[in-house]
């Protein structure tokens, strides 16, 4: 099945992801797909959750941390600036503490904690995770294209949702138990209703945020995940392992896109042995790809003469992937 057909047959799949090992062409395919969809008259947002995002490079426009930036008719691109997001968030917490208790300044040990927590490695991922929720629950676009982080991170990203959810469940339970004791005391003292537990309300809010994002990632109806691969042994081994893990997290895999295929037409010409050997090697692995993924292979994309940057190259690539 071709890529075009997949999109035509599943118009309800609005959250499109390209995943794969680093440097195989996730960003390039995300951009080309977004370009094509925009040309079909769909309103598209392509965004990156990678702290080292490269959408700015491919669109040749600095969009980092600027919110959704319009690239052309129907097409917006966004790179999330995690640091900026974290700083704004820290300030929000500080302000809340000052407002709640009428402090002049945040107490020192609390301030230290706020800073230490933000230095933690998980903080950046969580901040991006949270920012993504804002983007996707907005529902302003027909299509959302996730330019995902390399595989390992993507898995971490997915499993994080599960870990968060369990963590929240546990503390919510404890909080509810605490509430029961509070109500018991009120009854014994014959006081009126106990105050609303604001922490419990917060916890419920956090849970809805986490579920919103992870449910989209694993939504069989609305989400489609493409693996980007190249015809090389190591990539195939890693990808099939990752595909298994993704299946465990219920990520709906829509297909495989094979990148960097050296054009076979070259064999007609007088080419050096080096190139001939590469073509032979690729032939071997293309055969393997066929037996491994069969019908799921949605497209073969040739190795291009130059790297894909700028709208003109993106258009050329989109034509290769989706037809003119």
């Amino acid at each position: 099945m071709t890529l075009k057909k997949i999109f035509e047959e599943h118009p309800e799949r609005r959250y499109i992801m390209f995943g794969g090992k680093g440097g195989l062409g996730k960003t390039t395919f995300s951009a080309a797909t977004a370009y094509w969809l925009a040309q079909q008259g769909k309103k598209v947002l392509v965004f990156s959750v990678d702290p080292q995002a490269s959408l700015s490079d491919i669109f040749q426009q600095d969009i980092f941390g600027k919110g959704p930036v319009k690239i052309m008719e129907n097409l917006w691109a966004q790179e999330i600036d995690a640091d900026q997001h974290i700083k704004a968030y820290q300030n929000e917490i500080r302000k809340k503490i000052l407002d709640m208790y009428g402090f002049e300044a945040v107490p020192e040990e609390i301030e230290q904690y706020i800073q230490a927590a933000s230095a933690e490695p998980a903080m950046e991922e969580s901040a991006i995770f949270d920012a993504v929720v804002d983007i996707v629950v907005g529902a302003d676009y027909d299509y959302y294209i996730y330019d995902l982080v390399p595989l390992g991170h993507a898995l971490y990203y997915l499993s994080m949702a599960k870990v968060y959810d369990e963590w929240i469940n546990k503390i919510t339970k404890l909080r509810e138990e605490m509430r029961e004791y509070e109500e018991m005391v009120s009854r014994l003292k014959r006081e009126k209703e106990t105050e609303e537990d604001q922490i419990l309300t917060e916890l419920q809010y956090i849970r809805t945020r986490i579920n919103a994002s992870s449910s989209i990632l694993t939504d069989k109806e609305k989400t489609g995940f493409f693996f980007v691969i190249i015809p090389e042994e190591m990539i195939l081994i890693d990808t099939s392992k990752a595909a298994e893990l993704f299946a465990k997290f219920d990520v709906p895999i829509m297909g495989y896109v094979v990148n960097r295929v050296v054009p076979r037409e070259l064999l007609q010409q007088n080419i050096p042995a080096y190139l001939k050997n590469r073509i032979e090697m690729q032939d071997k692995y293309l055969g393997q790809i066929k037996t491994m993924f069969g019908q799921q292979v949605a497209a073969h994309v040739p190795e291009l003469e130059r790297d894909v940057t700028g709208l003109d190259m993106i258009r050329q690539l989109a034509e290769i992937m989706y037809g003119k």
């Binding site: 927590a117 969580s126 004791y181 003292k189 922490i199 916890l203």
Partner: protein
């Protein structure tokens, strides 16, 4: 006037009964509640005393609500020999 006295008399009886019957119970419930509060802070803000807890991003959201309890929580954890003592 007499009605007022009567009311305060009943009020007294009520309070004596409360003292006899349920004061201990509510004291116990409050104590348990306080221990749970500290347990709660531990599992959300554990990083503060060096116990790594997942995930800091959302812990921060809860921080403002526990600010007043942080000092007593730290004191308590340092005083108790064993965490399980603090829990029960």
């Amino acid at each position: 006037m007499s009605k007022q006295e009567k009311k305060s008399f009943w009020q007294n009886v009520k309070e004596i009964l409360y003292g006899m019957a349920s004061h201990d119970m509510s004291r116990y419930a409050l104590r348990t509640r306080a221990s749970m509060e500290h347990l709660f802070i531990l599992i959300t803000m554990g990083d503060m005393i060096g116990i790594p807890i997942l995930p800091p991003y959302y812990s921060l959201r809860l921080l403002p609500y526990v600010v007043p309890q942080i000092a007593t929580w730290k004191r308590r954890l340092l005083r108790e020999k064993d965490l399980s003592d603090a829990m029960f």
